[in-house]
Amino acid sequence: MDEILNGLSIILIFSGLIFFMGASVGLMRFPDFYTRMHAAGKGDTLSTILITAGMAVQVLSHFDVVSLFVAIKIIAIAVLIMLTSPTSTHLLMKAGYDDGIDPVTSSDKDGIIDLGGPFIKGSQSGDSESKVKKKIPSKKKSAARRNSV
């Protein structure tokens, strides 16, 4: 039983490390700060969840009340990071966008693409226009072009 739990926790921890490696490599290689944010925000969250889950399994391998509480605390860290990490990703990205850092876009995708909506079945308004892609010309097209891939 002990071996199984230990093996499970090692598998969880090392898969978390692989995802963290993805995040760290992505943070180095991606072209602009928006895409780097994707690597940071996502790889970070899942790897934290996996490693903390691994540690919780590890703590639970000699089971008593105290270690159960400690395991719950470790899971609480994962929940805390799952709540806060997307928020800080969003906030920092918003701060950059408001600051005027232009995103690197592919050559046919500058400006804002409208997907329409709403995407809820049975919602009455705006259905006729939904899912029609239309481009809105960007005010700073030249700047976006300069940065385009």
């Binding site: 692989i18 995802f19 993805g22 995040a23 490599v25 992505g26 290689r29 991606f30 072209p31 602009d32 928006y34 895409t35 944010m37 994707h38 690597a39 925000g41 996502k42 790889g43 969250t45 899942l46 790897s47 969840i49 009340v65 105290v66 509480f69 400690v70 719950i72 605390k73 609480a76 799952m82 709540l83 997307p86 928020t87 990703t89 969003h90 990205m93 918003k94 966008y97 995103p103 690197v104 876009t105 592919s106 995708k109 400006g111 804002i112 693409i113 409208d114 997907l115 329409g116 909506g117 709403p118 995407f119 809820i120 079945k121 919602s123 308004s125 705006g126 899912k131 891939v149």
Partner: protein, 161 residues
Amino acid sequence: MYRTLIFSFLLITWIILSGILDAFHVGLGILSCIFVTWLSSDLLFSNRSSRFGDRLKQACRLPLYLVWLLWQIFLANIHVLRISFSPRMREQIQPQIVRFRSGLKSDFEKYVLAQSITLTPGTVTLQINGDVFLVHAISDAAAKGLMGSMADRIRHVFSTD
């Protein structure tokens, strides 16, 4: 009524944190929980008009959604992992900013949708203006994924029937 609920949540948290179950420490815990409830009970449960039965239903549906979300997070990470290790990365990403209307009514639904968008494949919420979401997507596939079932699922979780 909601205050009692918040108090019991906080007390459970205290007992888990403390791990010492003698009268002195639990008494301190009760005092602290009363203090925190008095200080900041207005922060939790911003919408106090809904009935408890509805809350209970929502609380039952939320774990199912979270399991689905965890699976989506896993897929998201595989996606980012593949992109960041691929040698021809620049051809695989088509960064773009898209916007759409979600059709969700309450603020908390929008919050859950925005957090889920940020956690799932290749998309990060950039701005929320009323009902309009501005989203940065890392590739075409990710942008198309936004039109999937997520908003519908959230609507289902927080619906009152």
